[in-house]
Symmetry: C2
Subunit: 389 residues, 2 copies
Amino acid sequence: MSVTAAAGFRAAGVTAGLKPSGKPDVALVVNDGPLHTAAAVFTTNRCKANPVLWSERTVADGKLEAVVLNSGGANCYNGPEGFQTTHASAELVAELLGGGAIDVAVCSTGLIGTLLDRPLLEDGIRAAVGELAADGGSAAATAIMTTDTRRKEAVVHGGDADGGWTVGGMAKGAGMLAPGLATMLVVITTDAVAERDTLDAALRQATRTTFDRLDTDGCMSTNDTVILMASGASGVEPDSAELAAAVQQACADLTRQLWTDAEGAHHDIEITVAGAESEEDAVAVGRAVARSNLFKAAVFGDDPNWGRVLAAVGTTDAVFEPDRIDIAINGVTVCRSGGTKAGDPAENVDMSARHVAVEIDLGAGAATATVLTSDLTHDYVHENSAYST
Amino acid sequence: MSVTAAAGFRAAGVTAGLKPSGKPDVALVVNDGPLHTAAAVFTTNRCKANPVLWSERTVADGKLEAVVLNSGGANCYNGPEGFQTTHASAELVAELLGGGAIDVAVCSTGLIGTLLDRPLLEDGIRAAVGELAADGGSAAATAIMTTDTRRKEAVVHGGDADGGWTVGGMAKGAGMLAPGLATMLVVITTDAVAERDTLDAALRQATRTTFDRLDTDGCMSTNDTVILMASGASGVEPDSAELAAAVQQACADLTRQLWTDAEGAHHDIEITVAGAESEEDAVAVGRAVARSNLFKAAVFGDDPNWGRVLAAVGTTDAVFEPDRIDIAINGVTVCRSGGTKAGDPAENVDMSARHVAVEIDLGAGAATATVLTSDLTHDYVHENSAYST
């Protein structure tokens, strides 16, 4: 159900022909209200795609009526014509639904640097409007997939028997998953009653510790967008902390789905850094390890190579002393006190499961953070050398 | 000839049995003087190997009599026993040659986290002392190889018929080649007469624009060491700028050898950033592109994917406007004004050669810099997943 799990939303996913594969490629999510509050976070990449440049403007007033999304083309770095295509999409949605283009956000994903076929896209939008349905969430989630192997949806229920409300979400990911947002398009909806500032705070808090800590390949996208919209259709106004917790849970759920379906990955690597002086230090150390191609290749080879972990830790500015660092891989403390004390044998580490837990204790404080990444595999190289994105 | 091309130096390379392959693994370079001035730069990784911790002390007074090097083990993160092995190596060299251990630098490369076999290493040192020869440079250069497929040597001559002098050098590289020094051991010798401060300035200036701009896999080593020693045996004291230029040339030569023999590489990628506001900006942009796994995988697939270049540029803090950036790949301007003007067709780019030139013009100033990297290949993944280093 994804985005239509929350009352007050309709969605659709159709095939417009933008993808050579002939798979669904245009999605539409419409907020029927009564509220139309919204918040969004975007890629911090300074080279932004046209739909990001447009959507930043649309959400500036905290109000959105709809989001139109396409796969099959990122609409990025293709000049004024590309921006006009984004704008025309929003105009068409507004015209068909009755409203202003400035309340229609646009998201695109796919190949950078080529033009989207505007007539095909517009026909797709018309078809999507015709298919809008209160159970259209899964069709929308399917239409935004690129190299994703699975549709990504999340639903979280809040409130109680006297007044329930729901948060629903969909996401696409696969490649270019990195800091300050992965290459992802995410739409989250709720039928809770919430002001724009409440939504904005909830979304920023949630993305900071979920999507922002997923770093599968160190590459930051030009198109990342996470949108949260509230319809208020449940008539229930939850406590802001309660709503924030539900949004956080939906984001965390989608993040794990993105993580476990990253391009070419054979192992999902969960790097938990403890004993840090600050959370920033813990994140910096986790990210440095998540970006070590050598460590990621070792994990692909089922080699619990803690020397490569320690070498990556050493590249950071975090507070630590090398001879106080412990490293455990899948529960086996392979490195104790930075190697100055005997670690347990690497042979004891079972690397056969897809999930690999790396626990780094810096011995410098009480802060902790977890960063999620993937191993570096032949399939990753293959997908990204043979497939232009 | 490498390090023995300069007069006043003897060298040797022997097989001590540290490498399971039975290939040469212990090298010794001895400065017979009359001068014994020296300078060195080391990894900026905060988790340093035992030989780095030791060698930093030995060179602190600007004097070295010898350098002993081993492959077959990094002697890193293995506790007090490992440091004692480093110290014992220096002691043994000093005892056999007559001198103080504090004038003997030690370099190690190979697997992190395991102990070196001290008796084997000591036997190797004894054998190396016995084989020291004025033409032993190539044997030494061979003994420091790990996954290198070729020995790396450089020779630069300075001066004129009235007074010539020479700079010679050797290097090992292959993997973990990244910022603030690649995983490299480099020994450079000269028979010029030069004070320690002259050597230090020449070496720092040279490494800043050569080894420091090689970033094959974004991974910084724990053992990187570049040592420059002067014997003064030519009796000629060149102008400091002249000596610096020769050292620079030797470092640049060795850098290119490291670059073109990087682990698993199929393409050598030369990223030249022009039009930057500052040299720092140019280096930051070059390095960001050099670390984009997606771009590097695209190059492996012979895909001149400029969108991934621009996406990497956008992650930096450099001064630029996205719509002023031009990108040429192998001479074809595939991206003009950040895609706002039509680029030349990507089909015109010939990617068949091993060398790939990426030229990025930021349109923001007059500064320029070049960063060297490699493509991301199946062979890189294979070597680093199947082989523990």
